[in-house]
């Protein structure tokens, strides 16, 4: 769930856009470096953005019986790296705003921070920490994908609470309110997305290891493949 068009006050909309800009610029810098070394990465990252968009349009069964879409931030960050996910996420969010009227242009900065910065960086940090303490591969993937999903929504709750503090309880009460509203749907969805990402990674490692090794995926996955 993204913050919808025009919902944030103007100062917040501008502030979050300014905050998101360095991440997108740094992401583009790393992408340019990658393209200079390996020109085929231009096509790879372009198709990866389409993949993330298509992923966000898939209907995913939830353990509560409802259905929603995966964010794809965990999977994308593990496959393509967290820095590249900021510009890729920005493109996906822009496409969602224009093609699906989901999210918006004035709230693009806030949505980039939650979905394309916090989610991917959290996913990779959790995945690497879990691997460092010898957690099994499947559990590391599950923790990375589901925590990235949850942290995305915790960030969105904090952004909304910051913009609309509760008249009685202030930021804390407003954050608790938004987080509880999101928790009803997002905790089951985060579990579903974690399970889905494990199934995807297992399938990739089992059936497509030679292709993945040949196609030079990120170092984190290469370690598992070898």
């Amino acid at each position: 769930m993204h913050i919808m068009e025009g919902f944030l006050p103007v100062k917040h909309a501008i502030g979050w856009s300014i905050a998101a800009a360095p991440f997108v610029v740094y992401g583009l810098y790393t992408i340019n470096k990658r393209i200079k070394e390996k020109p085929e990465q231009r096509m790879l990252l372009g198709v990866a953005a389409a993949f993330t968009f298509v992923l966000s349009a898939l209907k995913m069964p939830s353990v509560t019986g409802s259905c929603s879409h995966p964010t794809g931030t965990g999977l994308g960050a593990i496959l393509f790296g967290p820095a590249a996910m900021a510009p890729i996420g920005a493109i996906v969010l822009l496409f969602q705003a224009i093609l699906l009227a989901h999210g918006g242009l004035t709230t693009l900065g806030a949505n980039i921070i939650s979905m394309a910065v916090v989610g991917p960086f959290a996913a990779v940090a959790i995945f690497r920490s879990a691997k460092a303490v010898k957690v099994p591969f499947a559990l590391s993937i599950f923790l990375a994908a589901s925590c990235a999903d949850l942290l995305t929504y915790v960030t969105t709750s904090a952004q909304l609470a910051f913009a609309f503090p509760d008249p009685a309880g202030g930021f804390a009460a407003s954050f608790a309110k938004f987080a509880s509203v999101f928790a009803i749907t997002q905790i089951p969805l985060a579990i579903s997305e974690g399970l889905l990402t494990v199934v995807v990674m297992n399938a990739l490692v089992r059936f497509n290891a030679p292709e993945l090794q040949e196609m030079k995926v990120t170092a984190a996955v290469q370690e598992v493949l070898t």
Partner: protein
């Protein structure tokens, strides 16, 4: 996608994206500048009428595109209306009640959001994404970002088709008959799609090399007849919209 269908078939398809982009930005500025919910609603009405009547978008299609966003707006408005109080007077140390005093502010936020949504739909339903990307190219956005956007836009329909075909094949084999089967089928689908990302990108790279590509992707910019007139009309109507929002109480 309904927005894409409208963007390619509407009456204003041949009007310069600069003009349509300018009106859309002015609509958003007007939404934020509106001093009261009534003014924000007026901005929303003007923009939606311009889209439906001016660009000849069928009203049912317009509502179908706006419906999910309107549902989110309703849900967001209701969450703002609930207030959580950590007071010691309540039974469990916290109480949930309606923030009646906040009602006018919440109504203002929702009306502003609605006006911004109509401004976004004005652009999305009248201008294809390729035109918006070429507009961004004129605004001197980084080339790499625009290349990725172009590649992504052109590939997403190919990937959507692949998803549709895989889901049809999986459904025909009862792949979505239960929750466990659904998760397994979806996992297989995404894994297959992830591999296609590399395969298709390699094929695209080879195709580009075969055509003498030396790095950046170059595209021909379409010409728009009567562009200065359209831009002048857009500037006048956009500025009028902002002035209306600023001066109306």
């Amino acid at each position: 996608m309904l927005t894409e269908q409208s963007a390619y078939t509407n009456r204003w398809r041949q009007i310069s994206p600069v003009a349509k982009g300018f009106v859309s930005i002015c609509g958003m500025v007007a939404a934020f500048a509106a001093g009261s919910p009534r003014t924000a609603l007026l901005v929303a009405l003007i923009l939606s009428l311009a889209t439906v009547l001016g660009a000849n978008i069928p009203p049912v299609r317009y509502l179908r595109v706006a419906a999910p966003a309107l549902f989110f707006l309703l849900a967001s408005g209701l969450s703002l209306l609930a207030s959580l109080d950590f007071s010691y007077n309540s039974t469990f140390g916290l109480s949930l009640h309606l923030a009646e005093s906040e009602l006018p502010r919440i109504f203002q936020v929702c009306c502003r959001s609605l006006a911004c949504l109509t401004a976004l739909l004005f652009l999305a339903l009248t201008t294809p994404l390729t035109d918006i990307i070429s507009l961004m190219r004129r605004c001197k956005l980084p080339e790499t970002l625009l290349d990725l956007m172009t590649l992504s836009y052109r590939t997403l329909f190919v990937l959507s088709e692949a998803v549709h075909e895989t889901v049809t094949a999986q459904s025909a084999r009862l792949g979505y008959a239960s929750l466990t089967l659904s998760l397994r089928s979806l996992g297989g689908l995404v894994a297959n799609l992830a591999v296609q990302v590399w395969q298709r990108s390699q094929a695209l790279h080879l195709a580009a090399l075969a055509r003498g590509n030396d790095g950046a992707l170059r595209f021909l910019e379409p010409d728009y007849p009567d562009s200065p007139r359209a831009i002048s009309c857009a500037v006048i109507s956009g500025v009028l919209l902002v002035v209306l929002a600023v001066y109306l109480p």
